[in-house]
Symmetry: C2
């Protein structure tokens, strides 16, 4: 663990970046361990060995830290998904659905952040930070949508945007439903009346996105 | 506004129910006015004219109050949707999609609550309250899924459950994205690079659920 002393003077831009990276590292580690909702600003300050008041010189709020991690998540996920889509040789809705579901399910902390973003993270930061974040998601769409349209010719730009919106909103929500606390998880397994509450994120995404893409592909082929 | 005096003694079960209803009414009114996230336990206590400590004898937490309103939302939405599905005369995926999208978009506070449920509301209440809530959502599924399968013969039970999961998770997330604060809303309208951040809940749900249902209906017909 880094001590407060190490962070006493960071007047150069480079030193500032080093501190920011240390704060983001601590938030990322704690978020992955216990879920975003359980991580407070105080937890991050303690993990990074800074006083909370000093940390607020680098990030306005707890939400800004996690919004930065969400942007980082988009910059990781979008090119990984685009690459997987480009590897699809024959137009196949199910292969596109599997690429979305597989790359999202492999990134559980990103799914956690996706659900937190519109509810919490975009609400407690300045407009300038929302602006930066939306430019990042826009750039992600700019990588994903053309790759979807190359994999399934006939799909429109709007189909691609709808697909990204559907997959990210469901991945976020299903991840939350699939990770209840231990007592609630025990409840769901205790009684067949709660079977509907047990969610396996990836297969459900594959089924729903697969059906959506078969519907879109059928319609576009029919109208072509 | 009711005063604290009116609530001084509520020893009979009937009086307890009256107080509970008054608390739920206040929470519903405040939630509809300003969005669930902005309503604190103190706000509800003030609106209902009770001390916060007295209110905690009726509800364990703020989240329990809103989880009760979410259950009430399911008991309102499920039969309304089932009735609309039963009125569909010819099997038509788009009519089923329009029934889901229309009944959800007409209930903005329910959409707000749907997004809050797995992130917040189910986390800060007792297991017993989650259990009651899940029985309510299970009963809702029991009304909706058979009506979907009657409207689109060939769909499986799992197709119906997936459709409810897809529609409720997207309605919740899209509602949050569609209702940013005023400064962020102005940002989105200021620059075409943010066009992807502008969401119109109902048309987007119609497009996505319509494609999903055309895909499912096509597949089930093909395998029949």
């Amino acid at each position: 663990m880094t001590t407060s002393r190490d962070f006493q003077r960071a007047r150069s831009p480079e030193a500032k970046l080093v501190r920011e990276a240390a704060i983001l590292d601590a938030a990322r580690r704690l978020g992955a361990e216990r879920g975003i909702r359980e991580v407070t600003l105080t937890d991050i300050a303690e993990a990074v060995g800074m006083h909370k008041s000093a940390m607020l010189r680098y990030f306005e709020t707890r939400e800004e830290i996690f919004l930065r991690l969400t942007a980082e998540g988009w910059r990781d996920w979008a090119p990984a998904l685009a690459e997987r889509l480009r590897a699809i040789e024959q137009p196949a809705p199910d292969a596109v659905a599997a690429a979305f579901a597989g790359t999202l399910a492999a990134r559980p902390m990103f799914c956690d952040l996706l659900a937190q973003t519109p509810l919490n993270l975009e609400r407690n930061v300045s407009v300038e930070k929302v602006r930066e974040f939306k430019l990042t998601t826009g750039a992600g769409l700019g990588q994903i949508v053309p790759a979807v349209r190359a994999a399934l010719p006939g799909l429109t730009e709007q189909d691609g945007v709808d697909l990204v919106a559907a997959s990210t909103s469901m991945a976020g929500t299903f991840h939350q439903i699939a990770t209840p606390g231990p007592e609630v998880a025990a409840l769901y397994r205790s009684d067949p009346r709660f079977a509907h509450a047990l969610v396996d994120v990836e297969p459900r995404l594959v089924r729903i996105l697969g059906a959506m893409l078969r519907g879109l592909a059928g319609e576009r082929a029919g109208s072509a």
